[in-house]
Amino acid sequence: MAESELDEVSGKTTTGHQWDGIKELNTPLPRWWLITFYASILWAIGYWVVYPAWPLLWSYTRGALNYSTRAAVGVELAILEKIRGDKMIALGAASLADIEKDPALLTLARARGKAAFGDNCAPCHGSGGAGAKGYPNLNDDDWLWGGSLDQIVQTIQFGARSGHTKTHEGAMLAFGKDGILKRDEIGTVANYVRSLSGLPTRQGYDVAAGAKIFAENCTSCHGEAGKGNQELGAPNLTDKIWLYGSDEATLSETITNGRAGVMPAWVGRLDPSTIKALAVYVHTLGGGK
């Protein structure tokens, strides 16, 4: 049945295909289209030869150009590192105070600091420095070891209780475990500590006894008014910010077992410019002094 015939209306021949009497006109494509089609097949073969194309069992065909996207990225990264290197030298040369005054250096330090923070600090302090129980929030204005740029650099360099010879030392004693205070004394002083920052206390607790216990045991680090001491990393007990929590149970736990959170020393692990950038970043999160 497949017979080509002349269609009277269009003057064209049909392909001979028909479906339920509907016939198909033969409308030939231009030949250059066909040639272009074959040319693109040839182009694809050329591509196989020149570029990496075929997976082998343990490797792949590398192609005549020996091109590698990985190597290309490496080259681009090296160029970027070179550009950044120059800028980081400028950052290293500037003083901390100057960096915060110069908008260009501040932007650079914040960007570099943010990247370094994400790589090194975020696991404990959180990606935005919001902290967690036992890990200080770096956005607020409450600082264990001081919130000035120099003090922040010091803390990043040597850490806290990190074992480095220059590290911040000083720890909360384990008053209960070591038998210094009895169980009921701990409860009393915990309530007294809560009263220092205006938190409600348990009804009928012995205020005088609490003040006495506090004066005898705590003031050497936390100060007579409980304002803390940044030399020793002793927190201010009169403010609204609590590293471990302010409820009586948590406070009792802190007094019984002591606290000695550790921050590692970063000197030697991060270069001085990066530490500077980190300090500026943390300082400008909002709480810097």
């Binding site: 049945m1 497949a2 017979e3 080509s4 021949t13 049909t14 392909t15 001979g16 028909q18 339920d20 033969n26 030939p28 494509l29 231009p30 030949r31 250059w32 289209w33 066909l34 915060e100 005054k101 908008p103 501040l106 932007t107 914040r110 959180g126 990606s127 935005g128 420095g129 919001a130 929030n137 956005n139 607020d140 204005d141 409450d142 201010n236 403010d239 609204k240 910010i241 400008t284 999160l285 909002g286 709480g287």
Partner: protein
């Protein structure tokens, strides 16, 4: 009942080639109204294209003085008094919408007149044909030379070399003008001539030289017939009132010689005006016979009208046997009724109204757009910070945009939480309650802004907060709304 048709491969007859060899087109030179319009539009289009990069426009110190400039490295687009930033690319969207609607309008009025007169493919192909005609002669000569068995004669070779050299020169100039839109034109011309221009400029010139040479020199009508989607779209858009290039078969048929027609007319019998002289076919740049009716290959350039009119004038017959007309009028003339034209009809009114609407919206947006802007991004982690005295602090990344060509100073203030204090990190200005910030010309400034407010006065979980900047010199104001969140 349908018969089931069995196809036996052995019985398949040859259905003809599946791929057609190209029929070469040798358009004859024509003179007349539409040819003159085409020359005029060609001169205008090419003139604008080649010369526009050299037009200057003063924008003040530090800004480029090129009237039309696409500044990719700095992400700016300049068009005379307009300067667009990347985030304002929607103006370009609007422009494309207007362009599409204008095509629709042109199509509903005069068919594919865009294709026949203004399309770059037509303009450059026309120019390349003109060069070819100048060097190799008109239709008959070119056909003879193409068919000649002895193409290697010195004269013929020099003709071919000359033609392709001029084509390449035009193509090169086309690519050369293109790159001038992307950087300061006079500087780049100097650099190009002294081979100091960046490699990318030469690469783009080479690419556009190749495409122009290939598309206008060789692909020609094949682009219009096979590659371009517009003829297909156009076929769906056209209607019975659109003025397409139309052969008046009511008047032309039956085709016969002048002598025979005169004899028949003398006897009072009907006779066709068409002499079957094939001048319309010879003039056609896509090589079709317009007398076959509307065809997808027809670009509506009107050259066949000129060719036919010239013949009609010579034999003293009425012109416009081929003309911009519609099918309705052919039917009406056959029925003895006068032709009617409806340029103004619902379709064209709607297109015009839409163009005016979109254009109006764009113009309004352009004239009222702010040259000072502020974007605020709330810190996501932590969303809010409690300070040692119990108050709440939220931190924001604020980006200020100064679209003017000079530096200016703005103050920032915030309106939302009660007793809020605003602080810009790094700022130690003399007005700490309304910090002052210097914005560099034609650029953005990013700030870290801290808003602190007492918790007892702001107990809501989230308070809408307005950040406002005020230009202390011009008084221009911009603002953005964000939230102040409590922990």
């Amino acid at each position: 009942m349908n018969k089931i048709i069995q196809t036996d491969p052995d019985q398949v007859e040859d259905v003809g080639p599946l791929y057609a060899a190209r029929k070469n087109v040798y358009p004859q030179s024509v003179f007349g109204t539409f040819r003159r319009i085409k020359w005029g539009l060609m001169a205008f289009c090419l003139g604008v294209y080649y010369l526009l990069p050299f037009v200057r426009w003063n924008r003040g110190l530090g800004a480029p003085d090129q009237a039309v400039l696409i500044d990719l490295p700095n992400s700016r687009f300049y068009f005379f008094f307009i300067e667009l930033w990347p985030q304002e690319v929607y103006y370009f969207t609007g422009l494309l919408i207007i362009a599409a609607l204008t095509l629709f309008l042109m199509n509903s009025v005069g068919g594919r007149i865009w294709c026949g007169y203004l399309c770059p493919q037509t303009v450059w192909t026309d120019l390349f044909y003109a060069v070819e005609r100048l060097i190799e002669g008109d239709r008959r000569e070119r056909m003879r030379k193409a068919a000649s068995a002895d193409p290697l004669k010195l004269g013929r070779v020099s003709e071919i070399v000359l033609k392709h050299s001029i084509w390449l020169l035009i193509a090169w100039w086309t690519g050369g003008a293109w790159v001038l839109y992307f950087t300061d034109a006079p500087t780049l011309v100097k650099e190009l001539v002294t081979f100091q221009a960046p490699a990318i400029a030469y690469i783009w010139i080479a690419i556009l030289t190749a495409t122009t040479y290939l598309l206008a020199g060789f692909m020609r009508e094949q682009v219009c017939v096979y590659m371009c989607p517009w003829p297909r779209i156009q076929a769906a858009l056209t209607d019975e009132w659109a003025l397409n290039v139309t052969y008046r078969y009511d008047r032309g048929e039956k085709r016969m010689s002048v002598k025979k027609a005169n004899e028949l007319r003398a006897l009072g019998l009907p006779a066709g005006d068409c002499l079957d002289c094939y001048q319309c076919v010879a003039a056609c740049p896509t090589g079709i016979d317009i007398r076959n009716g509307p065809q997808i290959d027809c670009i509506q350039c009107g050259l066949c009208i000129d060719a036919c009119d010239n013949v009609m004038k010579k034999i003293g017959g009425p012109t416009r046997l081929i003309g911009y007309d519609n099918d309705i009028n052919i039917q009406r003339r056959m029925a003895g009724e006068p032709p009617i034209y409806r340029i103004v009809r619902p379709r064209t009114i709607i297109y015009t109204a839409l163009i005016a609407l979109v254009g109006g919206i764009m113009l309004y947006a352009l004239l009222t757009r702010s040259l000072l802007d502020i974007n605020v991004l709330h810190d996501r982690n932590p969303v809010a910070v409690k300070l040692s005295d119990g108050s709440i602090r939220n931190a924001y990344t604020v980006r200020l945009l100064n679209k003017r060509g000079f530096d200016r100073v703005v103050t920032i203030d915030v309106d939302g939480p009660q007793d809020a204090v605003l602080h810009v990190v790094g700022d130690d200005s003399i007005t700490p309650d309304r910090p002052m910030v210097v914005l560099g010309r034609d650029g953005t400034t990013e700030l870290r802004v801290l808003v602190t407010a007492p918790s007892e006065k702001n107990t809501e979980k989230s308070i809408p907060t307005k950040f406002r900047i005020t230009d202390i010199g011009l008084g221009e104001v911009a603002s953005a709304i964000d939230n102040f969140v409590s922990p």
